[in-house]
Symmetry: C2
Subunit: 321 residues, 2 copies
């Protein structure tokens, strides 16, 4: 069982979300229960559902609707991970073998589809048209982000604008939706909804940029995937883009994308990026988004829920693992 203590005032309610997610494994077919158990047991930090609950606490804390919304957000996130791993042919996620490696790619496609459906069913329990529509738009956005990454892979034209747009769609959209729907379901005024949405978006951007930096600096064991795996798959993230901005002409990153694509040329590219100072520059970009997230909280009343949201953004300011 996870320790959710970091989320303060919503700890107990996050356990309710966990229970709802666990119940979604109770299906008619034992083989599906097993599959869902495998996918859903390996819980992450549950940061997205925590944001939904926290964002819902400033006005009318409508617990029943909020826990289903939060569960929906987490199921949607899990569905995207299952399909990502299938597309990337990844063997391990959060230290556990992926569905596509333990079963096969076809099963992983279907389980991901089922989780999308399950998350849509979960959001429908809120009986709120606005959040149901926001859910659908977010799902479209995530798909667009993933497809952009797929289609831009190995392109030497990938730039900062492409990258920020891509992670905005792929990652920040879900953080944004998690916060916005919590606010909407609590009956918050539009100004507050908009601020919490902005908080979620900026936190999501900071979160993804930091995650992408860790692909350069993390240890393979901790990350559960090899260092440099983004670049290996032809995806440029903030550090490599900053490096290319600094050295726009022939450089080992462009060289790797263009033709070599072997381990030696990858390592040379990684070393150049790290030694160029681009990692620290990338952290600065992440920090700007974290600061924007903090700023978005300023119109909210002081209190424990605002405190936890602040901590989430602040912890990303110093996150190095």
């Amino acid at each position: 069982m996870q320790n959710f203590a970091v989320y303060g005032p919503i700890d107990q309610d996050l356990i309710k979300v966990e229970d709802i997610i666990r119940e979604s494994r109770d299906v008619q077919f034992p083989w599906l229960s097993e599959l869902l158990g495998h996918v859903l047991d390996k819980s992450g930090k549950r940061i997205r559902p925590a944001i939904t609950l926290l964002a819902g606490r400033f006005y009318n804390y409508d617990l029943d609707r909020l826990v289903h919304m939060a569960a929906s957000v987490e199921l949607l996130h899990t569905a995207t991970l299952v399909h990502d791993d299938t597309i990337d042919k990844a063997f391990v996620r959060r230290g556990t073998p992926t569905v596509n490696s333990l079963w096969d790619g076809s099963t992983a496609v279907l389980v991901g589809d089922y989780l999308f459906a399950n998350s849509a069913e979960m959001v429908s329990r809120t009986a709120n048209v606005r959040v149901m529509r926001e859910f659908a738009l977010t799902l479209m956005s995530i798909c667009l982000g993933e497809m952009s990454q797929d289609f831009q892979a190995f392109s030497r034209r990938q730039n900062r604008e492409h990258y920020l747009q891509r992670i905005g769609k792929k990652t920040a959209s879900l953080f944004s939706m998690a916060a916005e729907t919590g606010a909407v379901l609590s009956g918050a005024p539009e100004g507050v909804i908009s601020s919490l949405k902005s908080y979620g978006y900026n936190l999501g951007m900071a979160f993804q940029i930091t995650d992408d930096i860790l692909d350069f600096t993390g240890q393979s064991d901790e990350m559960g995937k090899p260092v440099g795996s983004d670049l290996l798959q032809g995806t440029l993230t903030m550090p490599s883009i900053i490096y290319i901005e600094k050295c726009p002409d022939a450089n080992p990153v462009l060289e790797f994308l263009k033709e070599s694509r072997n381990t030696g040329s990858l390592e040379k590219a990684l070393e150049e990026i790290v030694s160029s100072g681009s990692i620290e520059d990338a952290y600065k970009v992440a920090n700007d988004f974290s600061m924007a997230a903090l700023q978005a909280l300023e119109i909210l009343p002081q209190g424990p829920e605002r405190g936890v949201l602040q901590q989430l953004a602040e912890s990303n300011l110093i996150r190095r693992s």
Copy 2:
């Protein structure tokens, strides 16, 4: 352009549905427009969206909501086809190369996901919680049906009950939803909604059983897939199940599933099924469902829309291609 003349009173409105589907190709990324164009241009008979519009005509014909609901139904259907083809590694669909064959499996997974999202966005335009929830439940049902097929493949325990349950979830659920949501959006009373839902369900069952029979009797060219392809993939459908019920002990179908799985043993199994009279028996089962669909229409007022719904069920009574 399709000829929708068969659908009588809703012909013009079905063109509006077609326009909405076409507009969903207008996206920011040219490569995605191309992909969506490829998938959405090859329109089928549009029977599902036609049912939604027809079911919506008995009470308040709320055209704007109904055309979006109908477009959502068709997009959802298309999404499932894209993922099915990916899982089955099918090369051709409706006489056109599949996304997974022209692009690759990863792209097909993402395009299918995008179409799911797009169909959810489309249904959200109805701003009706009940149909949005029905949409999500149907998507879950379709996924369960597909997964059952996947997990039961090559099992010699597949029986009539499994088969009917599987096609109920995989196919009839969408026909049922298409009819039900049309009725709900028109403000029909519960008795009428329930009858139209039953009509859709039974028509969908008849439709799928007939389609499965054509896998035994159709010409490969007309079908766009080889004769016997279900059995080749280890899936038992109505004719093979009836044949096994007749000859429950050692027989070439069970033999094929058990070990041989080569072209010779497949052909032997197909010949046995056809010559056993199981095809005609399977048509009888399909006809029972078509009759149930016709019966469900009886509480509806007479008129051109009921006439077209009747024709759809009747045409399945004699469908041999």
